[in-house]
Amino acid sequence: MTSQSTPAGPPLVRAVNAIKEFGSTRVLDGIDLEVHRGEVVCLLGPSGSGKTTFLRLINQMEQLTGGRIWVDGELIGVEERGGRLHVRKDRDIARQRARIGMVFQRFNLFPHMTALENVVEAPVHVKKVKPAEARREALRLLELVGLAERADYYPSQLSGGQQQRVAIARALAMEPELMLFDEPTSALDPELVGEVLTVMRELADSGMTMIVVTHEMSFAREVADRVVFMDAGVVVEEGDPDQVLRSPREPRTRAFLDRVRREERVLEQRVARELEDLGPEPSDPS
């Protein structure tokens, strides 16, 4: 992939006509997308639009049905030998995945390990880093996400926001070139969303390449270099966050954004109403 060099160098992720079918249902219908080093790209779109599926294809949680995806110039899932495509072996796929960090909607921390053990696990057993060294690095990462003093807690003893921050530290411990976030704040109580977004914002500022599936419009506007709006398995519109979010060109984007704003307003009104119903007096300490 060195034939043409754009100002930002070759793309870290390049998808050409990515197609994914589950049985006879086509979930992704030809996605073209390039993500360059240091770029933060937010994938937006209604549920069922295929944005999570696309993210999972990059990390081979799903197998591509058609098209090609390259990460750092290397074809994902298959390799070309003697003019034919060959499916990669498990070990090869594991090697490709090790360079990509992934953060899940439901955290998926290992419940039988402490926060520290979660972060240390992959560097020691996959990258064969010395345990003492991995431990030091893990503590540094936990410090980075503000959880150094929770290192010896089990996931069940942590709040959702804390668990997600440990999950980010765990992914970072493998020193990935690329971080994938699959709706990282969707499973969180509203008051815990902020702490996770703060960590993600810091990560973006440090120059990490990130692809983020999210419903947090303000995060997309403030942090993303580019937003990609998907619907029904295709990219409808992509571009500068301000442009796409403030004055979308495509009617489908506009309809989606209008709906999100309306829902947010309804939610706000409901909260306001409920607060009013509670009355002005301070609630009794139970």
């Binding site: 990390n59 081979q60 949680m61 498990d90 070990r91 594991a94 090697r95 995945r97 090790a98 360079r99 990509i100 960090g101 992934m102 899940f104 439901r106 998926n108 921390l109 290992f110 419940p111 039988h112 390990m113 402490t114 520290l116 696990e121 992959a122 057993h125 996959v126 990258k127 503590l139 150094a148 003093e149 929770r150 290192a151 010896d152 807690y153 089990y154 996931p155 069940s156 003893q157 942590l158 709040s159 804390q162 999950a167 765990r170 992914a171 493998m174």
Partner: protein
């Protein structure tokens, strides 16, 4: 607590709030009846145990410490239990992983194995193992399979067998005993291990894969440790069953075993009943020890999941003031 206590309105001062509850507890007369009945039954039992001469308690304890009995206890009963269980668990986990693999041949083999060995009563399997030697009149050998065909085809003579053992000695002895118990146990353990593996959340596999773990590593480090929580309680049952089933090894026949040795003392001395009491006491004691062990292992593998097994760890940097906020 929005309603004021109507039964005892605050005396005098209207602002006084209800204090500690000092209420008459519910009476349970039937509990006392049950206690009386059980006390009478216990007295009857004790009377039977201590005054009936047939028990012959001094003889019970004397029989229990005879050298052949101790040997049988250690070798046939405890030894075969441990070995049968170790190989049974290993085989069972292997069968479960095969059953869940993507390879249809491995899946099929695992299914057929489980189907076959679950169907055979353990006693029948042990007796069959004892006479399996009949199938191999020339003994069992370690060497190249179908060597005589290959040697014939190449026009050579002799054989390609490195060790040859008497088949009756192999299958009818201690090896056969452990083999019979382990192969039967593996079939049960396969189902237990499979349900354990399936109980682990799919997201755990994905998280392990996303970190670059190979399927084998993910199984060893992430899936099995979590599956253990589901696997251990039924395995404890299996272990106790195994302990008791070593008494079936008489059918092999393996005689260095607790029950056989106790019985043979009984038939030599005509003290049939006391020796059975002695055997019962041994089985009771061993089962109790195993139950304690199971509790310990359950706590070990419940870390992070069951609250009683999760230690509130010391913190690394400094204890924070709001320590209790994390648990939910």
């Amino acid at each position: 607590m929005s309603e004021p206590d109507r039964a005892r309105p605050p005396a005098g001062d209207a602002e006084e709030r209800p204090g500690l509850i000092d209420a008459v507890p519910v009476r349970h007369p039937w509990r006392w009846v049950a206690v009386a009945v059980i006390a009478v039954l216990t007295a009857m039992l004790l009377n039977l145990l201590l005054t009936n001469p047939i028990y012959n308690w001094p003889f019970v304890f004397e029989a229990m410490v005879q050298e052949p009995v101790i040997r049988g206890l250690l070798i046939g009963t405890l030894g075969a239990t441990v070995l049968g269980m170790v190989f049974g668990v290993l085989g069972g986990v292997l069968l479960a992983v095969m059953r869940l693999s993507a390879n249809p041949v491995l899946r099929g083999v695992s299914w057929v194995y489980t189907w076959f060995f679950r169907a055979i009563p353990r006693y029948v399997l042990i007796v069959t193992m004892g006479v399996l030697g009949a199938l191999f009149p020339e003994g069992v050998s370690l060497g190249v399979p179908f060597d005589w065909l290959i040697i014939d085809a190449l026009g050579l003579s002799g054989d390609w067998r490195f060790v040859t053992l008497d088949a009756y000695a192999v299958f009818g002895g201690y090896f056969g005993a452990v083999l019979a118990l382990a192969s039967s146990e593996a079939a049960y353990m396969a189902e237990i291990a499979r349900s354990g593996i399936l109980s682990v959340d799919r997201g755990q596999v994905e998280a392990a894969q996303a970190l670059g773990m190979s399927p084998g590593l993910a199984m060893r480090r992430i899936i099995l440790p979590q599956a253990m929580r589901v696997i251990i309680p039924p395995t404890g049952n299996e272990l106790i069953s195994m302990l008791k089933d070593t008494s079936l090894l008489t059918g092999l026949p393996l005689t260095t075993e607790l029950f056989f040795q106790m019985q043979s003392i009984g038939s030599r001395t005509f003290q049939t009943f006391p020796v059975l009491v002695g055997a019962t006491l041994y089985y009771l004691a061993l089962s109790s020890v195993l139950m304690v062990g199971q509790t310990w292992v359950e706590r070990r593998f419940g870390r992070g999941i069951s609250p009683s097994a999760t230690p509130r760890r010391r913190t690394v940097v400094a204890p924070v003031a709001s320590n209790g906020s994390g648990a939910q």
